[in-house]
Symmetry: C3
Amino acid sequence: MAVHPTALIASGAEVAKDAEIGPYTIVHANVRIAEGARIGSHCELGVPSALAEGRPLVIGEGALIRSHSVFYEGSRFGPGLVTGHRVTVREKTEAGSAFQIGTLSDIQGHCTIGDHVRTHSNVHIGQHSEVGNFVWIFPYVVLTNDPHPPSEVMKGVTVGDFAVIATMVTVLPGIVIGEGAVIGASSLVSKDVAAHRIVAGVPARDRGATSSIQLQDGSGRPAYPWTSHFQRGYPSELTEKWIAEATSFAQRHGAP
Amino acid sequence: MAVHPTALIASGAEVAKDAEIGPYTIVHANVRIAEGARIGSHCELGVPSALAEGRPLVIGEGALIRSHSVFYEGSRFGPGLVTGHRVTVREKTEAGSAFQIGTLSDIQGHCTIGDHVRTHSNVHIGQHSEVGNFVWIFPYVVLTNDPHPPSEVMKGVTVGDFAVIATMVTVLPGIVIGEGAVIGASSLVSKDVAAHRIVAGVPARDRGATSSIQLQDGSGRPAYPWTSHFQRGYPSELTEKWIAEATSFAQRHGAP
Amino acid sequence: MAVHPTALIASGAEVAKDAEIGPYTIVHANVRIAEGARIGSHCELGVPSALAEGRPLVIGEGALIRSHSVFYEGSRFGPGLVTGHRVTVREKTEAGSAFQIGTLSDIQGHCTIGDHVRTHSNVHIGQHSEVGNFVWIFPYVVLTNDPHPPSEVMKGVTVGDFAVIATMVTVLPGIVIGEGAVIGASSLVSKDVAAHRIVAGVPARDRGATSSIQLQDGSGRPAYPWTSHFQRGYPSELTEKWIAEATSFAQRHGAP
């Protein structure tokens, strides 16, 4: 365990022997950190909270948590968690494998996140959000949950697999975004979005099928599903399948 | 005084004996912290600044300031201040009791905040803002102040008591938001808003009386004034009055 | 060199003798800090990264970097850099003199910034952005770069000299904003903006010449070019020229 001498590790914390923990970082008692973790400087992990109801903070294998991040106790992350700097994650966040959380993002807890979800910087995920697998969320997006704030009524947002939410979007409470849907930048999503549709505007309106967007690389290929052309950082067993699917699609539709 | 051994407390700082101060936190000299305060880790309180004109940072009784927060000298907070993580508060912020400041919020100073104001995460309050009592401000809201930036003309926003500003709203300089008004998400507020009206859109337009919004809890009751159904965390002498008012209103109007 | 005893300075780092480095700040090896620098507390400078390709972090003379900021190796700043708190600057950011970066701003790297650029709080500058000289960017602005996210196609935004981008604006990939243009608050910029034009809205539409906006100080003068009335913090050799130009313009046009 390569723990910097200034790191403060509470007795009771279970930290894998090979974990690296940076200077001035605090690890509270109710924390389990698996093998291969690298925790940056100035973090605070396992902040005690009654809302966690005694559950530990569990960080899966191979995590990379960058500096100044804060995680409460009572959340669980699969292997391959990667964060930017200064992320905040509150209690009862349940996330699958390879969750990437951008710098300054704020996960409010009481939410579920699938596998291979990636948020860019400064994303706010409200309580009771349900985010599927392979979802992309870009900067300054807010998933809300209160239909008439302030109130005790909480209706989380549901985001389908492979959906993409572009920059500066607000998604209203209880909205369901379908699989593979694309939300344009600076939109307010006030109605459910069907699978593989594009919506944009304030309020967001239907702008056509996602397959109508052309990739701007001169190839003439469609930009969605994005799995046909973007594979960076995903496991090869997945990307081989994605490439095969894209080839098959192109052959069926006569694309180059 | 439960001060962590790594906390750096300048001589001259007046910190109540029972205050807790977390690891790696810095308290500068020109600071007064009252009884019952809990200050998290990695904070910096009382940052010296010529703009403070020598005034101290005064934190009232029972404050909870979460980690990585930065407060300048020259501001004053009533009892019951609660902050999220990484808040920034600049000089000459004058706030009443029970101010709650969400994670990542940025209070630019030279502003006044009433009693029981609550901001959610990532709220930006520009200089010369005047925020009333019992105001709610949701994530990614910006109160601006310069009508033609950059300039030396500063016109702060005024927000009336019990008003609610939903997520991702920009309020233009000099705008007055009336008592109990509700601003819809993703709006640009470019005209004054009358009391108890809803506005929404870019630019925001009138959408009716706040009383026309129905509470989505199956009760058929109106969602506003929100004091009729939301009392969490307010003192009981207030909430008893709010409940009595709501009951009286319902009896007069024949609601259940 | 006034380095706080708790600061961790790697051997190899070149820090000017008169530099001040605050408590709990980390300076990695591949860093060059010039004379007159003041670095706040809880910062991390020169974060190692393969993307930097071995290049150092170079901070020019007289820099002021406020607390909790994070700079990667591989970026270069001219003299007079000033930052707010908790800024993040990634690899291969090349900035001129007197760059001011507001609190919580996130410079994604692989970008160029001219002289005397000022960003307010919480500005996000995407990779491949090219920002000219004397540009102003206000809070919660995002310069994007991917025309159909996620993809490997990167088209940075270009911002001309003296342009102004107001609060809560998204600029779409590849957009060119002309010299002296003004983007209104809460806009989505989806088309190029000609020099000295105002655009606003979602999507942004032309609203006239910038010279049509009147300064709200009772003088009757135009608010743009802003150099005619706003000179705070710029070198006197520049501001004297700006004032002379404004006087000449007013004489030619009969203004007071």
